[in-house]
């Protein structure tokens, strides 16, 4: 792969070079190969019910990972999403239990996410505190608050109308549809809305963005508020899928979401990554999770195998980038 030098280095690349493989393509290939291998060993892996089950398991994570993508692309990070998920679900549950009309309770789930996102954003943007620290603090604050408020009791016996997460539309579970809409909308928005492009600008080079006249602080703020709202939507799916709301739910959720995002190629440095990639990250994790059960990998070795596969996917991409001279 000798790079042809011109008088003035053209900085161009042919159609068949590695460059044309984006991180998303690489990940998609990895995922397809994995699925192919799995379904070769266990043909029933690809049965429609399992596909549906993987998608259903992915749905609330996918919505959350969209939010995380927004935050990370804009240069921040949010590790409070697990506790946030619990708070949102509990708020909705408590309201529904208190007899508030169901649509209001459901809206409250999403809105409480918006509010917490706003608090996170305010502390980062106006307080000038690094997001990882703000959200590390919020992780414990919110978790503690849930236990303080509920005493840990699960929230049960909600009116039947509450459980919209169990409904189906045209045979497809509603959570999958919601996730699909969110992912599609976010992907298009990030790619085609000028405002969406500002997220990348702010994450890639804040000072340059400022000099371009982009309202950096407002964008950062927006990333946290949108993330909070999307965690609210994830909580909406999550809380209405099961007959009870577990008040200590979402423990470790942040790790899952961040892992999915970075496996999906969202750069932790900010400024790069796509919703599609992040979605592939989620699917990859869930395919591995379900696949290892089909392969009857002992639960004791599960984490080691899963971690190794994640590492492989990541290293593969890094080697690709290095060959391109990007690193």
């Amino acid at each position: 792969m000798i790079r042809q030098r011109a008088d003035v280095r053209p900085d161009t690349v042919g159609w068949f070079s590695l460059e044309r493989f984006t991180q998303e393509t690489v990940l998609a290939i990895f995922l397809i190969v994995l699925i192919a291998v799995l379904s070769f060993i266990r043909p029933d892996f690809l049965q429609s019910r399992n596909v549906l089950s993987i998608l259903l398991d992915s749905s609330h994570v996918a919505v959350a990972v969209v939010g995380m993508t927004l935050v990370i692309v804009a240069g921040g990070i949010d590790i409070s999403v697990g506790s946030m998920l619990a708070v949102c679900a509990v708020v909705g549950g408590l309201l529904a239990q208190a007899g508030v009309p169901i649509p209001v309770a459901l809206a409250a789930i999403v809105l409480s996410g918006t509010v917490i996102g706003f608090i996170n954003g305010a502390l980062v943007v106006w307080g000038g505190i690094p997001s990882i620290i703000v959200t590390l603090g919020m992780l414990s604050i919110l978790r503690g608050a849930v236990v303080l408020v509920t005493g840990g009791s699960w929230i049960r016996n909600l009116p039947p109308g509450f459980y919209i997460g169990q409904a189906r539309l045209a045979g497809i579970p509603v959570p999958i549809l919601v996730a699909a809409v969110v992912v599609l909308a976010a992907a298009l928005w990030l790619r085609y809305a000028p405002l969406g492009r500002y997220f990348y600008a702010v994450g890639a080079n804040r000072e340059a963005a400022r000099l371009t006249g982009i309202p950096v602080k407002r964008i950062q703020m927006a990333s946290f508020i949108l993330n909070g709202t999307l965690i609210g939507v994830a909580a909406l799916i999550f809380a209405t899928r099961f007959s009870a709301i577990q008040t200590n739910s979402g423990v470790g959720f942040e790790l899952l979401v961040i892992t999915a995002a970075v496996v999906g190629g969202v750069s932790i440095m900010g400024g790069s990554g796509t919703v599609w990639g992040a979605l592939l990250g989620v699917l990859l994790l869930n395919v591995i999770g379900s696949g290892l059960v089909f392969l009857r990998v002992s639960a004791y070795w599960f984490q080691a195998v899963q971690g190794t596969l994640i590492l492989l996917a990541v290293v593969f991409d890094i080697v690709r980038k290095r060959r391109l001279g990007e690193l």
């Binding site: 699960w154 099961f242 739910s249």
Partner: protein, 362 residues
Amino acid sequence: QPGAAPSQPEPAATEEAHEEATAEPTAEEHAEEATVVTDVELPEGWDGGWTVNAPDLAGQPIQVYDIPKLIGIDYFNATYKGMQEAAEELGNVTVTQDGPTEGRVDRQIEFIENFITQGADAIVFASNDPVAIAPVLEKALSQGIRVIGYDADAEPQARQFFVNQATFEAIGKALVESMVAQVGEDAQVAIVTSSLTAPNQNAWIEEMTKYRDANYPNLEFVDIRPSEEDQNLAFSVTNDLLLAYPDLAGVFGLSSVAFPGAAEAVKQAGKCGQVAVVGLSTPNVMRSYVKEGCVKDVVLWNPVDLGYATIYAVRAVIDGTLKPGDTEFEAGRLGTLQVQGSQILLGDPFIYTAENIDDFNF
């Protein structure tokens, strides 16, 4: 007279420890204090520990600290409720619950140290690890603090009595019997446990396996998967199991989170009645599944009674009415409970069914 003998600081679980049965001073006290005398004569064969130089608080008001595996979950709220009930009945007992927000033994140890510093009269605990928690409990004993376990035991010599809600054997048997009753002897079943390292769950799995081997060798345990106290994970793991093992006839859900998660998965897969779900959990969490017929019965003791009995045991030990060697004791509304060695037995595990589940609220 073995009780009067000076004791060496014993590592956990050595044989002499069981026989000599004295309070175990921790290393630093041992340096100062060569001779340790327990408060009572310990009978031959007594495997528990005992306090040293405990103040005589018979009939006096006492402060009891409760350290569950973790705070903020229904189950330990229920045991605490029972403790409060007992304290109210007795009138001269105050119970305070505190503990970690996640089931980590290292945090539990920290809390117990704090209780000792605070000057507790008695500590009741449910341990996250029987061995790890032992040294700090032994330290409490050596400072005259009464220590009684419930729900999940420590090394015997690290506490005075343990209120045993149901033996592992009895639970293992009840679970397997309930499963066999629903799926027959010839079937594939899977286990959804809490975490792979949870001592109680592991002990139940061991007993289930033993009982199965002895009685129903054709009942196959195809897989064990953890659910980490997360109903979402329990749900999706059960789902995976249902799909990966098309012939699966039943699922054990071995915790108050795993059981409803598994039941939910079976229900949403539309397999109620085809796939049996058997396990341990609290009635409130399981009520809807039992009523819908997705779950036939729920195996559990009554955690409120468990907490209740524990506080009665504390009072009795302090008042001197429950001593090593006793074979029964009076536990308020529960009547007379059996005592075997250093274990107080709550009775057989309770089976909740559609008929009686509405009588319980915890």
